[in-house]
C-alpha cells in the first residue's frame, strides 16, 4: 500500500513546469482565510436547526394569538372549517403508534443485538452489518406497500378477531374496527422499519464493553447469560436506553409508511385496533389544500412545530448519552 503512494507524491513535486512553491507566509494566509470561510460553512448545521425551529414557530404564532397553547394541545375536536383546532387526537395517535411500534421492536432487537455481539460467529456478524445497512436503505413507502399488502389483512382477518375473542376483557384489545387499518398495523410496520436502526446502535454500544471484563466473568465460572446480565447490560444500560429512544424518535416522525396503514381518522384512540391519525400524517394529508381556511395553515405548521419540539427533546437527550458512551462516534 505504502509503495504505491510514495512515487505519486515525488512525481507531483518533480513535475516539469510546475510553479515554484508558494512562500510560507502566503500559505499560512491561505490556511487562515480558508479556515474562516470553512468555519462559516460549518456553522450551517447549527443555523439550520435554529432556523427550522424559529421558522415553524413563527408560522405557528398567528393561531397562538387566538387560542392558548393548552387549548390547542388538549382540544379533541378537529374541525378547521368551523375554527376548531384540537391537536389531542393527533398527539395521542402519534404516541399510541410509536409506543406500540417501539414495544414490538425493542425486545427482539435487543436480543438480536446481544446475540450478534455475544454469541454469533464472526462470519454471521460480517454479513449482518451490510444486511442492516441494506434494510435501513429501503424507502418508507416500500414498507408502507408491504404493510398494506401483508400486515393490514393479517391484522383485520386474524389478529383483531383473535384478541377480541380471548382478550376482549382488556380495554386496549377490544376491536371495533374490522378493516385492519389502525394502530397495530402502523405499529408493526414501524417496528420493522426501526429494527435495523435499534439493532445497529445497540450492537455498537455492546461492543464498548471490554473483552477483559467478559473473560474475567467467564473465568470465575459464570455462564454467558450470567455474564451478559451482570456485566454487559449494567455497563451499557444508558446507551441501550438512548438507542431505543433514538429509534422511537424515528418512529415518531415517520410519515408515509404509517400514513398508508393507520386509517387516518381524527379520533382519540382507545384500543390498539382503533384507527389513529398521527401528526406527520395530518401534515402530509392536508398541507396542500389549507390555503382557503383561516388559521388552517398556522395549525398545520403548529403540528409540525409540536412534532419537532417533541423530537428535539428526546433526540438531544439520547444523543448526548450516546456521544458520551461511544466517544462521539456511533453512527
Amino acid at each position: 500500500m505504502a509503495k504505491q503512494a510514495t512515487p505519486v507524491t515525488t512525481k507531483t513535486i518533480n513535475e516539469e513546469g510546475r510553479t515554484p512553491r508558494p512562500s510560507l507566509p502566503s500559505r499560512r494566509r491561505q490556511d487562515q482565510t480558508a479556515g474562516r470561510v470553512l468555519f462559516g460553512i460549518t456553522l450551517l448545521p447549527v443555523i439550520l436547526v435554529a432556523l427550522i425551529t424559529v421558522g415553524l414557530g413563527i408560522r405557528f404564532w398567528p393561531i397562538l394569538k387566538v387560542y392558548s397553547f393548552w387549548e390547542l394541545v388538549s382540544g379533541i375536536v378537529w374541525k378547521p372549517e368551523e375554527g376548531q383546532f384540537g391537536f389531542w387526537p393527533f398527539i395521542s395517535g402519534t404516541f399510541w403508534v410509536t409506543i406500540v411500534g417501539a414495544g414490538l421492536a425493542v425486545p427482539p432487537c435487543i436480543l438480536t443485538a446481544l446475540y450478534l455481539s455475544e454469541y454469533a460467529r464472526t462470519s454471521t456478524r460480517a454479513i449482518m452489518k451490510p444486511l442492516l445497512d441494506l434494510l435501513a436503505a429501503i424507502p418508507s413507502v416500500v414498507y408502507g406497500v408491504w404493510g398494506v399488502i401483508i400486515i393490514v389483512p393479517l391484522v383485520g382477518k386474524y389478529v383483531a378477531p383473535f384478541f377480541s375473542k380471548y382478550l376482549g376483557f382488556i380495554p386496549i384489545f377490544v376491536s371495533k374496527n374490522p378493516t385492519g387499518y389502525g394502530i397495530l398495523a402502523g405499529g408493526i410496520v414501524l417496528a420493522v422499519m426501526i429494527a435495523p436502526f435499534i439493532i445497529a446502535v445497540t450492537y455498537e454500544v455492546l461492543t464498548t464493553v471490554s473483552q477483559g471484563l467478559r473473560q474475567a466473568s467467564l473465568a470465575v465460572g459464570a455462564t454467558q447469560w450470567q455474564t451478559i446480565r451482570s456485566i454487559v447490560i449494567p455497563h451499557t444500560m444508558p446507551g441501550i436506553i438512548a438507542g431505543v429512544v433514538l429509534g422511537a424518535t424515528r418512529a415518531l416522525g415517520e410519515t408515509m409508511a404509517v400514513l398508508m396503514v393507520v386509517g387516518n381518522v381524527a379520533q382519540v384512540p382507545h384500543s390498539i385496533f382503533d384507527t389513529a391519525y398521527p401528526l406527520p400524517a395530518l401534515i402530509a394529508n392536508n398541507y396542500g389544500e389549507m390555503m382557503s381556511i383561516p388559521l388552517y395553515d398556522a395549525a398545520l405548521l403548529g403540528a409540525a412545530f409540536i412534532l419537532l419540539v417533541i423530537i428535539l427533546i428526546f433526540n438531544i437527550a439520547s444523543t448526548l448519552v450516546l456521544q458520551r458512551m461511544l466517544g462521539k462516534r456511533w453512527v
Binding site: L38, P45, P108, Y115, Y119, P139, W146, M260, L308
Partner: protein
C-alpha cells in the same frame, strides 16, 4: 465428562434459544418485505412501465409508464445530493483538520445529529414555508433544496465517521513536514477518505431518492418530465403512493411494480457503493 445441568445452564439454553428466535424474527420479517415486493411487483413490471410517461387515463388503468417519476426522482435526488456535497465535504474536513474534538466540534456534531433526527415531513413543511416566503411554487428547484437539507446531515456524519477512523499518524506526519491544515485537508485527508466520500454520497442519494414526505409539497407531481428547474417534478415514492391510493386493481398492480423499481434502485445504490468503495480503497494507506 458428563455435564451437570444446573439451573443456570437451563436458563442459558432458554435465553440463547430466545435470542436465536428473535434473530430469526428480525431477519425473517425483513426477508418477507423483499419477497412481498418482488412477488407482487415482478408480474406487473413491463417494459413500457419504465420507458413511457403516463398517457391519458393512466391512473384509471390505461396505457403508460412511470418514466416521469423515475427521471424526476433521479433529478431531485441528484440535485439534492450535489448541493449537499458542496456543503458537507468542507464541513467534514473542517471538523477534522481544524476543530478536532474542541467545543465547537462537539456542538456542530450535536447539531448534525439533531438535524439527522428531524423527520422528513418537518423538512417538507419547512421547505414549503421558505418557498412561500420566496414566492416559489412547487418545483424541481424546491424539491432539490429540501432534499439537500435532508441529505446534508446524513452525508456529513457519514464522512465524519470515515475521517475519524483515519490513522492520526498520517495527518500528524503531514503537519510535521510543514503542511498547513488546509493542505492536509485538501491533499491528505481527501485522498485518504475517497472511498468514504463515495459511500457517503451514495448513502445520501439513496435516502434522498426514497423520501416521499420531503418532496410531497415542495416538488409537486406531474405527468411530464421536467425540462426546467421551475417546473414541478414527479418522484418514484409519490408515484407508488398515488397509484396505491387508486381504487383500480390495475393501477394498484403498477404501484407494486413501481415499488419494486424503487427498491431495485435503492438496493443497487447500496451494493454499488460497497463495490466502488472497495475499488477505491487501493488509494488508502492502511
Amino acid at each position: 465428562m458428563k455435564k451437570h445441568w444446573h439451573r443456570r445452564h437451563i436458563v442459558e439454553a432458554i435465553v440463547k434459544a430466545l435470542m436465536m428466535f428473535s434473530f430469526a424474527i428480525v431477519a425473517g420479517s425483513l426477508g418477507l418485505i423483499l419477497w412481498t415486493v418482488i412477488s407482487r411487483g415482478l408480474p406487473a413490471l413491463t417494459w413500457s412501465m419504465i420507458t413511457q410517461t403516463p398517457k391519458g387515463g393512466f391512473y384509471l388503468g390505461k396505457e403508460g409508464g412511470i418514466l416521469n417519476a423515475i427521471i424526476g426522482s433521479l433529478y431531485l435526488a441528484g440535485g439534492g445530493t450535489l448541493i449537499a456535497l458542496i456543503f458537507s465535504l468542507p464541513i467534514a474536513l473542517y471538523l477534522e483538520t481544524y476543530l478536532g474534538d474542541s467545543g465547537w466540534g462537539h456542538y456542530i456534531r450535536l447539531a448534525l445529529d439533531v438535524l439527522w433526527g428531524i423527520p422528513s415531513i418537518v423538512y417538507g413543511a419547512f421547505g414549503f414555508t421558505v418557498m412561500l416566503a420566496l414566492g416559489l411554487r412547487a418545483s424541481l428547484l424546491g424539491g432539490i433544496i429540501t432534499l439537500a437539507l435532508l441529505e446534508l446531515p446524513i452525508m456529513t456524519r457519514a464522512m465524519d465517521e470515515v475521517i475519524r477512523r483515519m490513522p492520526v499518524d498520517l495527518e500528524q506526519a503531514a503537519l510535521a513536514l510543514g503542511s498547513t491544515r488546509l493542505e492536509v485537508a485538501a491533499r491528505v485527508v481527501t485522498r485518504q477518505m475517497l472511498p468514504g466520500i463515495v459511500t457517503a454520497i451514495l448513502l445520501a442519494f439513496g435516502r434522498g431518492i426514497g423520501d416521499a414526505a420531503a418532496v410531497l409539497f415542495t416538488a409537486g407531481f406531474t405527468d411530464r418530465i421536467p425540462t426546467s428547474l421551475m417546473q414541478p417534478a414527479a418522484s418514484l415514492p409519490l408515484a407508488v403512493f398515488f397509484q396505491l391510493g387508486m381504487p383500480y386493481p390495475e393501477v394498484q398492480k403498477r404501484a407494486y411494480a413501481s415499488a419494486l423499481i424503487l427498491t431495485i434502485i435503492v438496493l443497487a445504490i447500496s451494493l454499488g457503493s460497497r463495490w466502488i468503495a472497495s475499488r477505491l480503497s487501493k488509494y488508502v494507506l492502511k
